[in-house]
Amino acid sequence: MSGVLVPATLAEAVSALAADPAATLLAGGTDVMVETNFGHRRPERVIALRGVPELRQWHHDRDQNTVRIGAGVPWAQMEQGELAALVPALAQAARTVGSPQIRAAGTLGGNLGTSSPAGDGLPVLWALDATVELVSAAGVRRVSAHEFTTGVKRNALRPGELIAAVEIPVVTGWQAYAKVGPRNAMVISVVSACLVLDRPAGTVRLALGAVGPTVIRCRDTEQWLAGQLDLRTATTVPADVANETARRVSAEARPIDDHRSTADYRRHAVGVLGRRLLERAITS
């Protein structure tokens, strides 16, 4: 009699979880197994999701112009092909996660479930105003990405719920993700940022990672920029606007000192990223 269940369908997974809400959900294992190996977590009953096909699919809804990505789609799949073309910032973020081995196993659902302040996919979901789809025996619940992560390693998941998918609007314009780390591979973000320039809508959205307990949307800066540039058509960024953007982005960050970096550096670095991403977006 195994403590590990490997359901073959989403319905099976949901009812298993309903019967045992305290069971550990396991997808790629890139967070759960680290905790287990270190003795910080002792699994007793596990529901392994790698065999659930619905979680590993993605779909482009052309009518809604959204992409729905199953929570079990590994990062490696997001890095390439049509999915990467539809959500380029997510593809860029995916490429920075861990190592090739981690990217073959780790998932967006896991990233959301762990809700680390430095999670690589999260700034992208916030900047694109994505929606998280949660499923339980009671049905489907949809929560905006902003409302899903509530604090450091805390989220809005209720007992009996699992993350089924993320729905991301497809944007016409420019988007990118940037991440600062002291090594060229396998780093936890010191700071990260995702900028989305929606040309038809004339908006810019900027989300920062690793400078607050959750992702920070720079709404103040976004609003200010909309007043400085015609975001639908501008192709250059005046130097004073670029510099002021950096200053404002820095001001919206709430970084801390820790063993990886200092608050001062993080504040400075997000300003630099904000300015660079804006310049790249506008001049592209």
Partner: protein, 163 residues
Amino acid sequence: MNPEIYTLRINGTSREVRDAWIGESLLYVLRERLGLPGAKGACEQGECGSCTVLMDGDAVCACLVLAASAVGAEIVTVEGLGATADTVTDVQYAMVQAGAVQCGFCTPGLVVAIHHLLDTNPEPSDLEIREALSGNLCRCTGYGRIFDAVSDVAARRREEARR
């Protein structure tokens, strides 16, 4: 502790695991229960690649796979790449020839990762080689000889294909 009983597919063979603790990683089970110590543990958190195995054709870290959840997957370890007691694969041969083996602890994981790289991308550029191997740490060699070994194999396979 409720002991686990399950069957894994390893190197083409079904292997039964009994009396296991539920929290055991695939790495632990391979090394301690199935007599396959080729995969090595150097960090237990997916940051070094020493435990790299193939799982349904993907290169993953065995330390991050809950063994009991891997039922149904086809797992290939360094022992299952085709070498026998007297023979080695072309990748293994190249690693020795190129001087890419010093202490050897990272070597099995690298061998699996290189096989995976060349099977999915037979003509990788230098940068592609580096990125593909960026999850395999080596503390002894500084990687230079390893890159040469990969290029050697790619070149040799290209030659073979031409013939």
